[in-house]
């Protein structure tokens, strides 16, 4: 390995390997055998071939910010850390495309484009540290995917190194509709199980002319939920609508120093909303949305006085997960999706379960698309409480499924939710997905033990079709 990437980029020392034992889901840990940090596609190919020859599974890794254990090493695996591949290879404003290596930080893409007035739309809360490669693996969303879509809607091409070390271009050049199956569409969000992406062609957008943000304080999540439904029902497509409940607000206040509790002591829910687009359109929609918030029972609607205040409001939202550390010594970040019209009912069910278990649950979520992030607070020092918190988090997913939703809206299945896949999908569904997996990676060498609830073998690699003996001798035919 050292001959391929240089000794400095191979980590095999037990103490140094500890950094790579887990991603941001720290409750799952496993020590890899080796971590290798390649700098180019060629190096990735060479490393994968050597690893495969040695029978080592390959676990791709970006910044390790994932919350589902998608970058959790398999024992004996080689972690392929793409964090050194940070080159921006090409920017083509005229065609709205940008070619980057996978280790480029999400926010750096937009920063790079700011002088030209362009940006990259997907904005996961971890965008200042997470990488594009990780975003591609997880099909990351973010607050603004309500209007703009997810990573899959913004990736126009990718260079994939397959488990066998073959280099394949999917959507070369970023031109739309390359003839053939949409392999790119299935590689995005495949959580590193179909190969390793070493180049990505991103779709970049002109920055909207105007953005209006407002923060509405509501007495409870019921009114806030009604406000969301009415805004969306009115024909407005907001860029983002985020909701926080009382507990989440308390955490944000402590962490970021926003004055929401002083200003609105009776606040039970906060709604943070962006509308963006051409100026006249935005003025109209912002006006309408403000009126709806007032009509649906907002205590007050605050429009930020300046960009500073706007950014502070968003910081209050985006730092909400981390802020939980101020309310509890431990917490589980859950990620589930429900039809947005069911928000009030589902929140009530969650609270009921939480009270029954004697635990607190804070809710921060993308209300526009029904993507909940319940944060289950607990204290690991209390015997049994961690287990109760895990059980509660699991029950929350089951509630989502009961309402016709999903076990993950943006964090991915990873190792964490693999067992729940069998509750969301039938055996036939999973077996079909496994066939897709096998088409790319017949030895299941790439990121094993992720996504699927039980390990699956692919069987033989199908060769070209050969006639059955009974056909060859004329006793049967393909009719």
């Amino acid at each position: 390995m050292a001959a391929i990437v240089g000794a400095a980029n191979v980590i095999s020392d037990a103490a140094d390997l500890r950094t790579y034992e887990c991603d941001a889901l720290t409750s799952f840990r496993a020590r890899p055998s080796l971590v290798v940090l390649p700098a180019s596609t060629d190096e990735v190919v060479a490393v994968m071939k050597v690893a495969r020859a040695a029978g080592m599974p390959i676990v791709p890794r970006g910044a390790g910010t994932g919350l589902s254990g998608g970058a959790l090493p398999t024992p004996g695996s080689l972690v392929l850390a793409l964090s050194r591949m940070t080159a921006i290879l090409d920017v083509d404003l005229d065609n709205g495309l940008m070619r980057v290596q996978p280790g480029v930080i999400n926010l750096d893409v937009s920063r790079h484009l700011t002088p030209a007035g362009y940006y990259y739309a997907p904005d996961p809360s971890s965008q200042s540290v997470c990488t594009i490669g990780g975003n591609v693996a997880e099909n990351s969303g973010g607050a603004h995917c309500l209007k703009y879509g997810f990573t899959v809607n913004h990736v126009r091409g990718a260079r994939l190194v397959t488990a066998d070390g073959d280099v394949v271009d999917l959507g070369e050049g970023g031109v739309l509709d390359p003839p053939g199956y949409d392999l790119l569409g299935v590689v995005v969000g495949s959580e590193g199980t179909l190969g390793v992406v070493t180049e990505v062609v991103l779709r970049i957008l002109r920055r909207p002319e105007a953005t209006r943000t407002f923060l509405a304080a509501f007495p409870s999540t019921d009114e806030a939920g009604r406000c969301v439904s009415e805004i969306i029902g009115s024909g407005i497509v907001p860029a983002a609508i985020e909701m926080m409940d009382r507990l989440a607000i308390e955490a944000a206040v402590k962490a970021v120093g926003v004055d929401w509790l002083e200003r609105w002591p009776g606040i039970g829910a906060a709604l943070l909303m962006d509308v963006d687009g051409p100026r006249a359109e935005v003025e109209h929609t912002a006006h309408e949305a403000l009126a709806i918030a007032a009509r649906t029972g907002a205590i007050e609607v605050r429009v930020p006085a300046d960009e500073d205040e706007r950014l502070r409001m968003w910081k209050g939202r985006k730092s909400a997960f981390a802020a939980m550390g101020r309310l509890a010594s431990n917490y589980i970040v859950q990620d589930g999706v429900i039809p947005r019209t069911e928000i009030a009912r589902v929140l009530a069910e969650i609270q009921q379960l939480a009270s029954g278990a004697g635990l607190r649950v804070a809710n921060v979520f993308h209300a526009g698309d029904g993507n909940l992030h319940p944060l289950v607070l607990y204290d690991a020092r209390v015997p049994g409480q961690e287990r109760e918190a895990e059980d509660l988090a699991a029950e929350i997913l089951r509630i989502c499924l009961r309402y016709g939703g999903s076990i993950t809206g943006e964090h991915g299945v990873g190792a964490d939710k693999a067992p729940f896949m069998a509750e969301m999908f039938s055996e036939a569904d999973l077996e079909t997905m496994a066939r897709v997996r096998c088409a790319f990676d017949p030895d299941t060498a790439c990121n094993p033990n992720k996504v699927f609830p039980t390990p699956r073998l692919c069987g033989d690699r199908p060769g070209p079709y050969r006639a059955h003996a009974t056909e060859s001798d004329g006793r049967a035919d393909r009719g």
């Binding site: 392999l183 006249a280 009719g479």
Partner: protein, 431 residues
Amino acid sequence: MTEPRMAEPRMDAAARAGEASDAIVGVVPASVVTPATLDEATEVVAGCARDRRHLAFVGGGTELALGAAPERLDVALHTAALNRIVEHAPLDQIVTVECGARVGDVQRALGAHGQMLSLDPPWADRATIGGVIASNAFGALRTRYGSIRDLIIGISFVRADGVRARGGGKVVKNVAGFDLPKLLVGSLGTLGLIATATFRLHPRPETAATIAFQRLSLADVQRLLRAAREAHLEPEAVAALSDTPDGAAWRLGIRFAGFARGVADQSARLLDAATKVERGDDGAGDVGAIEADNDAGFWDAHERARAGDATVRIKVALQPSDPAAAELFARLSEPLARARAVFYPTLGLGFVSGDAGEPDAIAAAIEAARRSLAPTGGSVVVHDAPASVRARLDVWGVGEGPRSAVPLMRSLKQRLDPERRLAPGRFVAGL
């Protein structure tokens, strides 16, 4: 051990013998079945699996000439009777429909609730949802809303072995499992029978206005759109039309949609931006006269241009700002009679259609266009052409050069349809 030879298909669904008009890329299926329910359709596919019969799926029949001729076709499964709207949840802005539902019918049902599926493929009154997914059909709305791949959130389909499987779900945000819906988009019935699909919906805009410009060159079109983008304008739909794609005679239609105030403002600003382009403020010099009007009639012309009679229909994909776009359209039009073109300039996608002239010349023009597009990753796909033209080229134009995705596609096909019973040979690279 002897496998019994199956003489008759075991099918309960209404079946009849195939006729010339049932041909799929020129191949007439031995029989045509029109199942009445999804269960019945599933049983037809399962029965074909048991009997090792080769089959293809037919929706509205708008793209029956797309692809290469299937090597063998025993059964054509028509989805016409599978046309229910399974679920429409207006407040959640989602709809689930059966594959045979016609796009026009679905739009009318959604329109009653002030909503739409943001997709406007040609022949919408015939085209079915399943067919639109399978052929990745689209129209000018793709400008703002993306293609069907960006709108589909869930799918259920029947595999070649008769097993029903599902991917995605019915919530707009969902990353659980592989994105099977996207895999089925554009797969032309070669991976399975699309049974139902779930889509995210959008509100119908309060109002819309179209500005149409006349007599532009394609370079003018590109310059004008660049100016519109710089001015932060966000059109809902953009299309360019030409009856003489070899010259500077394109009509450009730009539609704004949304709330009245925004639409009026954007329309006015587009006219303002266009004036600046005319003056050559961008340093490009005089681009000639640009006339504009508020012209909903533009979209009628668009409909005639894309859906009118033609014996040749070619799809072109290129970088939107490709400086050789004009040359490309000219080259592809030249050997056709009554040639016309529709170009979606913000997407870099277009169609050239007309009546066949000299087959050698048409095939040569297509091959030349492919060579010129190869360095930038563009493509030329023949959607329809007489057999004389098809015989001279690969309608897909997909080679297996370095870093080709074809081996992976082949591997996928082998995993999902190992016996090659679904329209074998119709798809790219003989899949």
